[in-house]
């Protein structure tokens, strides 16, 4: 047998391998998709059917649209409000977090100032501290400041992303050439303008990653809003849905609403995830290669 040439790469691996690979991937896909499938099926059921019929198949009279409409109109449309709140926390929080991280990471990478390493170590420590350990003291602190049970209580902690700063610093160090900055300075541009015009543009892939990372992080955060919020008008979706399951025993229809609400909240994010996959890839590559 001759040695494989470079062309061998383009020929397909043996059928046996392909079958094994495909079946392994299919098994894994089943594992990841079965609960989602259950959710889709269950959305078509009412509470009685939810408990009384086989979970992986449809009940007698599937009425997904009717059920979802009920979810949206229950309690004066509170669900829509929770959804909007989640979007607000995650959207605004992630945008601000990205900008703050970009500025801090850029400065840490490009300006040798006294105490820089100390600041960066502090940030690193911040990455390693579990956020939930901070939530309780933060609650008492915010209460003393009159911020508990307001939008700010969730928004302010959400805009701080040590991991974002870390990623931005690594990326800026690699992707923003000093010579370019020097040239801009010689042209007489101010630092703020250089950052806004040049830095941000060159850092875009990392910024997209930071934004997505933080968006998902805020969207998924449960502990912080649980501790901070008591007014249900301020709840994000997760908190709202658990409050429904919290009194569903007295109002069984809420089980059905919880499932429907879970479905409605999960779908857009899953679509977003799938569509934006390549951005996760692009940004994180740079970050983790340097790590």
């Amino acid at each position: 047998m001759t040695r494989p040439t470079a062309r061998a790469r383009t020929t397909l691996p043996p059928v046996r391998y392909r079958i094994i690979t495909a079946s392994l991937l299919t098994v894994a896909a089943l594992y990841f998709l079965v609960p989602v499938y259950w959710l889709v099926v269950s959305t078509t059921k009412n509470s009685a059917e939810l408990f009384g019929t086989f979970g992986f198949w449809f009940a007698g009279h599937p009425d997904p649209l009717g059920h979802l409409a009920d979810v949206l109109t229950y309690d004066h449309g509170i669900y829509a409000r929770w959804f909007a709140n989640s979007l607000l926390y995650a959207g605004i929080g992630a945008v601000c977090a990205t900008l703050l991280s970009a500025a801090a990471g850029y400065a840490l990478a490009k300006f040798p100032f006294p105490g820089r390493e100390a600041v960066f170590n502090l940030v690193l420590a911040g990455v390693l501290i579990p956020g939930t350990a901070l939530a309780l003291p933060l609650y008492f602190l915010f209460s003393a400041m009159g911020l508990a049970d307001t939008y700010w209580a969730v928004l302010i902690p959400s805009v701080v992303s040590p991991f974002g700063v870390y990623l931005c610093r690594i990326y800026a160090a690699a992707a923003v050439p000093d010579s370019l900055l020097e040239a801009a300075r010689i042209d007489g541009a101010g630092e703020a303008r250089i950052f806004a015009g040049l830095g941000l543009r060159l850092m875009t892939p990392a910024l997209v990653t930071v934004f997505l990372f933080q968006f998902v992080h805020i969207w998924n955060n449960y502990f912080l809003p649980l501790v901070m919020l008591s007014d249900s008008d301020l709840y994000p979706i997760q908190l709202g849905l658990t409050s429904w399951t919290g009194y569903a025993d007295r109002q069984p229809v809420l089980y059905q609403y919880t499932v429907g609400g879970a479905f409605l909240s999960v779908v857009p994010l899953m679509v977003l995830m799938t569509v934006l996959q390549r951005y996760w890839r692009a940004g994180l590559t740079e970050g983790s290669v340097k790590a």
């Binding site: 409050s243 009194y247 025993d249």
Partner: protein, 450 residues
């Protein structure tokens, strides 16, 4: 904290954004010393005539919005805003304690009888006596009124109680030749028969400290007493041990399940007839109707089984009050609302519709009005069973501080006991030790009672 007139607009003083450090320092100072009394800023206010105010009210009772809406229509100046809190595993109280600690509790809250002393410990509730609450005493059943009286203070207006009883699947009991058990011995005998038929009589939910305390109450336990300045605590007294032994024996004989009650799996078992009875309370009708619709017409209510044949000793599970928090901005209006909510016939009617329990008020409704869903119970006037129980509740029972922690301790201890097969008695002894140390940890004088 006084509530912002436009509560939902994000607001933040500029100062806190800009002068982060200064605000932080102030924050520490404020949070570092929690003052017991009312600061000047939070001094209770008298509403001026014609002034419009909004009171917030934390509750988890499902139909509570309806009477509140009625109040709001009748009292345009004193609007009440209900904020729903979750009642799973005591989460609602967790939130209230935190809010008190943080200085921003609501004006009013739904608090169960056993938990009131815990809130007194935080100085969380307003003493309503100086506002003349005593004049409403006569409107309520005496023992329920007493649940929120400590010393000279009156700390809440009772709303509903939960006299205990036994729900049974009459159709299955008939089929198997069983009668609703009148004593606990008969209950065990019935459990054996039912087990042989492949079903279960019910579940002993290890985490349900609330029901366990009701059963101990019926057996004559006295968990809390006081002597001078000292609390006497006796979780493992003789009657409680008797109850623990009884259920341990049922568990060990595998006559009862040990799944959590009032959760999905339990509702499923009710629907399918896998579980055929429930030692519940008056408010349980709504749960059965709502969660086991397929069993309509098959249930009956019976008196709680007795320790002595022919006995008439009953106990209470649940039951709650409307309390006014210490920092309420308009205490007088809050009290007015609390009294109206729990005595006004129209309000009671709406609460009954929501399935809130057994009214604490003596008047304003007819007992058969409590039979919200007679057809579900085969036409039985089931509320009479609970009315009788209510009349014979052992009224000498007292609650002490830290019951929410106690429930958690009991739940954890029984969970452990089920897992490693150790005795329920040793679980009680453990909880007794823990409770003493918990209360000492809170700075109270405590001794082991009995």
């Amino acid at each position: 904290m006084t509530r912002n007139p436009v509560p939902h607009l994000p607001r933040m003083p500029r100062r806190t954004v800009l002068g982060g450090a200064a605000a932080l320092a102030a924050g520490f100072a404020l949070a570092g010393c929690s003052d017991g009394g009312d600061g000047d800023a939070d001094a209770p206010r008298e509403r001026k005539k014609g002034q419009k105010i909004t009171l917030t009210f934390w509750s988890w009772v499902p139909g509570i919005d309806k009477p509140v809406d009625l109040w709001n229509r009748k009292n345009p100046d004193v609007q009440v805003k209900v904020e729903k809190v979750s009642a799973v595993n005591g989460e609602q109280y967790a939130k209230m304690h935190a809010a008190i600690k943080a200085g921003n509790p609501p004006d009013l809250g739904q608090i169960e009888f056993p938990i009131i002393p815990s809130f007194l410990l935080d100085n969380g509730l307003l003493d309503l006596a100086p506002l003349g609450a005593a004049r409403h005493k006569g409107k309520f059943f005496g023992w329920q009124w007493q649940q929120s009286v400590f010393g000279k203070g009156i700390y809440a207006i009772p709303q509903a109680s939960g006299p205990m009883g036994l729900f049974v699947r009459q159709d299955l009991f008939d089929k198997w030749g069983l009668k609703a058990p009148g004593t606990w011995d008969e209950y065990e005998a019935a459990a054996k028969v039912i087990r042989k038929k492949g079903a279960w009589i019910e579940t002993f939910a290890p985490t349900n400290g609330n029901r366990f305390s009701g059963l101990a109450w019926q057996a004559g336990a006295k968990w809390y007493a006081s002597h001078g300045d000292t609390w006497l605590v006796h979780i493992d007294d003789e009657p409680t041990r008797r109850v623990a032994d009884y259920w341990e024996s049922l568990v060990k004989q595998k006559l009862v399940k040990t799944i959590p009650d009032r959760q999905n799996a339990w509702y499923k078992d009710l629907q399918t007839g896998d579980i055929t009875a429930w030692v519940g309370a008056s408010w349980g009708d709504a749960l059965l109707v709502g969660n086991a619709p397929g069993t309509k017409g098959k249930w009956r209510a019976a008196p709680l089984p007795q320790w002595k044949a022919g006995g008439q000793v009953f106990a209470n599970w649940g039951g709650s009050t409307t309390a006014v928090f210490a920092k309420a901005s308009y205490p007088k209006d809050a009290l007015d609302f609390a009294v109206w909510l729990n005595t006004d016939p129209a309000s009671i009617a709406l609460l009954i519709d929501g399935g809130y329990g057994f009214p604490s008020a003596k008047k304003g409704y007819a007992t058969d009005a409590l039979d919200v869903d007679k057809p579900f119970f085969g036409g039985q006037s089931y509320s009479k069973v609970f009315a009788d129980a209510s009349a014979h509740v052992d009224t000498s029972w007292r609650w002490g501080p830290g019951v929410d922690t106690l429930y958690q301790r009991l739940g954890d201890a029984f969970t452990d006991a089920l897992a490693d097969g150790s005795s329920f008695r040793s679980a009680l002894a453990k909880v007794q030790r823990q409770t003493l140390s918990d209360l000492q940890g809170k700075g109270l004088k405590v001794e082991s009672g009995g």
